[in-house]
Each structure stands twice: as structure tokens, then as C-alpha cells.
């Protein structure tokens, strides 16, 4: 039962020390974004005993040749690096987005877990930079289920490399509809006239998902809506943060939708606020939706918010995402800083004024 979740920033050397242990599983993915290579490129040359599983995503159709070429080139670089470090690694092919099967994905994670040592204390390092949100949710769900079954501890670490900049695009690079991740429903099937709704939206940099959500909301008669916007203003990229405000005019017109507007000031702060703002005490029939359209660490936070609500007994909780049809952009340029967090579940928050 999840009562309390925190994401504690940890120094890189803590993660490196875990990589020296054979009971550590690393799950990462390399795509065409330069930043997906950065963490592997910066691994130290110490004897690393951890098992690396590199997910290689390929769609059943509509793969774009140029992007596939860049991705393959990056994967080759990663392989070379891991081989030089004499690291035990495996490339794991996943069909995504077209043809993605979440049960297969979860089974893949369970097999990796068994292989690394399901009978002992285990560390899982999830490098989310190159993982699509749908896969992040799927992996986290598989890990959560394992944590529930295990008697021995399973520690989860998250790694994320920020982008240096986001390309300017004139139109949405994804064309799709809003769907709920876990119940896999269209927005209008999940939410109906007469429902009471709790909603947290974290707008993305291009704004089109939030814009679509607002338009869809207008069409539904909702008697009671508890609506929050969380706008992350990141210190590491204030220009991109300002762009989020510009690209999401609906956020700036929050009052028109009776929404409450909140701001956060770092990735870690935003992750905490997702949990704080979704600590809803509601009647079990109310619908609860979390829409983490912003950067991927917030999807991690949204996942734990979802689980916590579910465990509270709320039946209609879900995470909203955009079902993209195909890739059309590099998504990000360059590689910024690498962030490391330990996911602490049910650990006491009491610091007893001892500092850290």
C-alpha cells in the first residue's frame, strides 16, 4: 500500500556504486535523440557487474528512414561504449508504437527480473530519457507488481537527461487523440455527461495536447470539476519554460475554466507537486485524471499518484496521454544535465531537523 512516495535526488556516484553489483538491472533505450546516449557515454571504466537491457523500439509500420538511420547510428555508439567497458548487455527489440503489446512488455520486464536475481535484494535503474511514456507506465506497473509480491527489497532508481533545446515546430508532430493509458479508453468513453471530475494537467512544450483536452472538456457537461494546472518553470531551461506558457494559452486563461494554477521550479519540485496536487479525497465514483504532457519524469510521478488513488479505493482513475500515430521530429536537440533519483515508497518524511 502506497502511503507516501518521495523522489530523492542522489549523486551520480551512488548509482555508479550500484552498477558494480550483479544484482542491479539497468533498463534503457537509445533513440535518435542525442541525449539518450549521454548517460551511457559518461559511464566510468570501473568493473561494472550490472546487467544492461537496451530496448530497441521499432514500429510495425510507418518507420521513418532518416530517423531510423540516426537511431541505428546511436545504438552502434552505445554498443561500442558498453563493449569497451566490458559490460554485460543485451539489445531487446520492442515493437512500438504500432504493434505495441503491454502484456508482452510486462512479461519482458518480469523475465529480466528473474534473470538478474529474483531471489535476492534487487536494484532496478530505469533510464527513462529514451523511453516513450506508454512504455514507462508499463515498466513501472510491472515493477510495482513485483514489489507487491516480493518479500525482499526492490529499489528503484530513475535517470533522466534533460534536452539542451527543443526544436521549433510549426505544427504538432504527433496527430492523435486523447486516450486513457490504463483503461485504454477514448476520452469521451472515460468521461461522460454528469460525471464529477478531478483533473491535473501538466502542459507540454508544444501545447497541442492541452489545447485538445480543453476543447474536449467543453463538450462534456461536468457538474463538479476540481481542475488544476501545474506549470513547471525549470531552472535548467527557463526559455523552454516560458515557451510552455506561450504555447498553452488555455493555461493563461485558467480562470475561464475555473482551474487553479500552480507553478513549480525544478524537476524534483514538479515531481513532488504532482503527488501533492493529486492527493484527492473524493467519493469513489468521481473520475480522476492526470495528464502529464510535460517531461517524462512527471510521468513517473503521475504513475505513483495513479496507484495511490487506486489504492485509496477510487475506481475511475487514469492517466491521460496522446495516442501518437507516427514520429515526425527529433523531439529534442543536444543533451543537458543528467538527473538521478531514488524512488522511496513509504519511507518516513521526518527529517527531525537533522538536515541532509
Amino acid at each position: 500500500m502506497i502511503k507516501n512516495v518521495t523522489f530523492d535526488a542522489v549523486p551520480p556516484q551512488d548509482v555508479v556504486s550500484l552498477l558494480k553489483k550483479s544484482n542491479t538491472l539497468v533498463v534503457s533505450s537509445i533513440n535518435y535523440e542525442q541525449r539518450t546516449l549521454k548517460w551511457i557515454s559518461t559511464l566510468p571504466g570501473d568493473s561494472l557487474e550490472a546487467k544492461f537491457k537496451i530496448l530497441v523500439l521499432r514500429s510495425m509500420y510507418n518507420n521513418i528512414g532518416l530517423l531510423e538511420y540516426i537511431k541505428n547510428r546511436n545504438i552502434e555508439q552505445a554498443k561500442k561504449r558498453l563493449e569497451n567497458l566490458k559490460v554485460s548487455y543485451e539489445l531487446v527489440r520492442i515493437t512500438y508504437p504500432a504493434g505495441f503489446d503491454r502484456d508482452v512488455m510486462k512479461q519482458t520486464i518480469r523475465s529480466m527480473y528473474q534473470e538478474v536475481g529474483g531471489d535476492s535484494e534487487l536494484n532496478i535503474i530505469l533510464e527513462i530519457t529514451g523511453l516513450p511514456r506508454a512504455i514507462i507506465f508499463c515498466i513501472l506497473h510491472a515493477i510495482y507488481e513485483l514489489q507487491q509480491q516480493r518479500k525482499l527489497p526492490l529499489y528503484l532508481y530513475i535517470i533522466y537527461t534533460t534536452a539542451q533545446e527543443y526544436p521549433h515546430i510549426e505544427y504538432p508532430h504527433e496527430v492523435g487523440t486523447l486516450v486513457t493509458y490504463f483503461s485504454n479508453k477514448c476520452f469521451h468513453d472515460f468521461l461522460r455527461n454528469g460525471d464529477n471530475l478531478n483533473l491535473l494537467v501538466i502542459p507540454g512544450i508544444y501545447g497541442f495536447e492541452t489545447c485538445l483536452l480543453i476543447e474536449e472538456l467543453k463538450k462534456i457537461d461536468l457538474p463538479k470539476v476540481n481542475f488544476h494546472f501545474l506549470v513547471p518553470l525549470y531552472q535548467h531551461d527557463m526559455l523552454a519554460s516560458m515557451k510552455v506558457l506561450r504555447m498553452n494559452p488555455s493555461v493563461l486563461r485558467a480562470r475561464a475554466y475555473n482551474a487553479k494554477l500552480h507553478f513549480s521550479f525544478s524537476l524534483q519540485d514538479a515531481m513532488k507537486m504532482v503527488l501533492d496536487l493529486t492527493d484527492w479525497e473524493v467519493e469513489e465514483d468521481a473520475k480522476c485524471l492526470i495528464a502529464p504532457f510535460n517531461v517524462k519524469p512527471l510521468a513517473v510521478s503521475a504513475f505513483y499518484a495513479y496507484i495511490r488513488l487506486l489504492e485509496k479505493g477510487m475506481r475511475n482513475v487514469d492517466i491521460l496521454r496522446m495516442s501518437g500515430l507516427q514520429y515526425g521530429s527529433l523531439y529534442s536537440l543536444g543533451a543537458g544535465e543528467i538527473n538521478y533519483w531514488k524512488v522511496n515508497i513509504n519511507e518516513s518524511e521526518d527529517k527531525n531537523l537533522s538536515g541532509k
Binding site: 518553470l233 531552472q235 527557463m238 526559455l239 493563461l252 521550479f265 527529517k351 531537523l353
Partner: protein, 357 residues
């Protein structure tokens, strides 16, 4: 929009001018710039400012106004809440125990009040929780007085009253803007000296709402490797936000940046230089103020536009110019307080005393 009619559509698109100005306009509607300083809609204020600017420069003025970083109270209040969230995460301080466990100091009056209100912290005026004055200079004066030749009873009472606050483990300085870093580094210098002679173990935490990379460098020089000083900043503006930096990224095109810099030069020469009221500020800042106080080069606008932002934004003197974000000057004469001398005296005399021992 007569003043803006001659600007080419292509240029407007290139710098995403309409989109950017609309966003600022929307943000102003959500949380307006103080109405006693600016009443009209942002577009109207821009139009008015542009009437004073020669047509060759108007496009650059528009590009500058489109790149204003508007940080209204709604964000600043959240920045104080972020400060408390960080204090809680790092030190276990929260709205319940903060006033009893930490000594709150403020760089400018009113900050503690706003911090407490934003965080729903009750009891900030209780004399058993916080000192009657939250300025480091006043605390130093009280401390000095308790060491003077006054009646024993008064001396004991004063000593007890001042010491109970100075002995606290956490000294927290609240700062709204650290833009050039001059005020903050002086304040930190005083705090470090007073702490060294009264409570060398105190952990000094600075909560800053908005900090620039210039200020960060200056403060780092001041605190050097002092590990007991921790800076927690909410909003950080680096070189990308400085229009007088070659790393400025506010504009898409380098030509636009150059044009904006030329406009600032024109403004300083043709408008601002004629205003003698700014002579002392110019002397203190150095240069002609074309990029604002201490050459900060910012386009930042808070509820009272800082002087570190370029004067094209805040200078307001009809019939010569009407900037879109008029400001109320906090300092006119630029005279200095005695705070530094008092702290230096205390520091030197205590050090001398201990070496005599």
C-alpha cells in the same frame, strides 16, 4: 496601431512577436501589472511607447517588448512556497516549526510578511518567535548595544532577547531579486561576519525568488567555499536572458539582437541622458544605463519593474517617453546606511578581543 503599421509581416513572424506579446497580455490579464503604474492593455502600452521611437527602431522595440519575462505575483508567491518546500525537503523545516527553529532575515522590508502569508505561517509578529527587527543591520545594532556601557538590568534583558534568536541553528535570508548580486553579496558579508562572532555553527540559507547568473557569480565570490551557506533560488536567469550578452537567446536572429542593442544605445543617448534625476544612479551603476542598472541587460518585469531591466521598459516621463512598465524608484539619492560599518566594527573589535585573550 499606427506606430507599428510599417513593420514587415515577415519580420513579425520571424520573431514570433504576436504570439509572444499575446502570451504576456494573457498573463497580465491573469495577474495584472499594478494598476497604479499601468492601466491599459499591453498592446496599447506598446503602441504608446513606440510613438516615441523613430520608425527605423520600432521593429526592434517590438521585438524587445515581445521578449519581456513577466513574472507576476502569482508566480512570486509560488516561489515562496517552493522555498518552504525546499526547506522542508532539506532541513525538515515547515510551516509549524519554522518560526521557532530559524531566524528569519529579509533583504527588503515586507518579504517575511509575504513569505509567511504565501505559506500560511502563523505568528510572525510574536516577539517570542522572531525578533522585532528582521534586518541584519538592526540585529547588529542591538547586539552592539547589549555590549555597551548601559545599566546591567537593561544589558541583561537586551542580551537575552538578541541572543535567543542569534543562537538559532538556521539563519534564513529572504531575497526577492538578486539581479546584479551587489546587495545580496553585501548582505551576506554582514550575515557571515555577525554569525562568525555570535554563532559560527549557524547554517545560513538564502531563499531567492529570482536570481541571475551575474548575481550567482558575485555571491559565489563572496561565500567562496563556505559550506554552511546554501542558496535556494526559484527562478534562474542565465546569460541567455541578457540582451547585452553574445549568448543571448531571446531573439531568433542575431540581427534582431544587434538592432535591439542599437535601440538601447539610442535610447540612452537621446532620452535618458537628458534626465538629470538619474545622474546619481548612473554614477553608481557606471555607464549610461542603456542596459539597466549595473549593465544587467534584463527584460525582466516583476510587480515593480527592476532597474536592472533595460530602461526602455520602465522609463516613464511624458512627453519624452512612456515605457510600458513604469516603476516606482526605491532609491533616489543612493546614500549608504551604517549597517556595514557597524558589522565591521563589531567583527573587528570581537576578533581583536579574542586575539588579546
Amino acid at each position: 496601431m499606427k506606430a507599428l503599421e510599417e513593420i514587415e509581416e515577415k519580420k513579425i513572424e520571424e520573431e514570433e512577436i504576436t504570439q509572444k506579446i499575446n502570451a504576456i497580455n494573457d498573463l497580465e490579464k491573469l495577474d495584472p501589472y499594478p494598476h497604479y503604474l499601468a492601466r491599459d492593455d499591453y498592446w496599447e502600452r506598446i503602441e504608446r511607447a513606440c510613438q516615441y521611437i523613430p520608425s527605423d527602431y520600432r521593429y526592434y522595440a517590438l521585438a524587445l517588448f515581445a521578449n519581456v519575462i513577466y513574472i507576476p505575483s502569482i508566480i512570486l508567491d509560488e516561489a515562496w512556497r517552493y522555498g518552504l518546500r525546499e526547506l522542508n525537503r532539506l532541513y525538515g523545516l515547515n510551516e509549524e516549526n519554522l518560526l521557532n527553529e530559524a531566524l528569519l532575515l529579509e533583504g527588503d522590508s515586507g518579504l517575511i510578511r509575504r513569505f509567511c502569508h504565501s505559506n500560511n505561517i502563523k505568528g510572525r509578529l510574536d516577539f517570542d518567535k522572531q525578533p522585532r527587527s528582521s534586518r541584519i543591520g538592526d540585529l547588529a545594532k542591538d547586539y552592539l548595544l547589549s555590549r555597551c556601557n548601559i545599566s546591567k538590568e537593561l544589558k541583561d534583558r537586551l542580551d537575552k532577547e538578541v541572543s535567543k534568536f542569534l543562537e538559532r541553528r538556521f539563519w534564513i535570508l529572504l531575497v526577492d531579486n538578486a539581479l546584479s548580486g551587489t546587495s545580496l553579496s553585501s548582505e551576506l558579508n554582514r550575515i557571515l561576519k555577525l554569525s562568525e562572532i555570535t554563532n559560527p555553527e549557524a547554517e545560513i540559507i538564502v531563499l531567492v525568488q529570482i536570481m541571475t547568473s551575474d548575481a550567482s557569480k558575485k555571491v559565489e565570490d563572496e561565500i567562496k567555499n563556505k559550506t554552511r551557506v546554501k542558496i535556494i533560488r526559484a527562478i534562474y536567469l542565465d546569460e541567455k536572458f541578457k540582451i547585452n550578452s553574445e549568448n543571448c537567446q531571446l531573439f531568433k536572429s542575431k540581427d534582431t539582437l544587434k538592432g535591439v542593442q542599437k535601440l538601447c544605445e539610442w535610447f540612452a543617448n537621446e532620452i535618458l541622458s537628458k534626465d538629470k534625476n538619474y545622474d546619481s544612479t548612473r554614477n553608481l551603476s557606471g555607464g549610461d544605463l542603456r542596459y539597466g542598472f549595473k549593465n544587467s541587460g534584463l527584460t525582466l518585469v516583476t510587480p515593480n519593474c527592476p532597474s536592472n531591466s533595460v530602461p526602455l521598459l520602465w522609463y516613464y516621463r511624458p512627453p519624452y517617453y512612456e515605457g510600458p512598465y513604469p516603476r516606482v524608484e526605491s532609491r533616489i539619492t543612493q546614500t549608504r546606511s551604517l549597517d556595514q560599518e557597524i558589522v565591521d566594527y563589531l567583527y573587528e573589535s570581537t576578533k581583536r578581543g579574542s586575539s588579546d585573550d
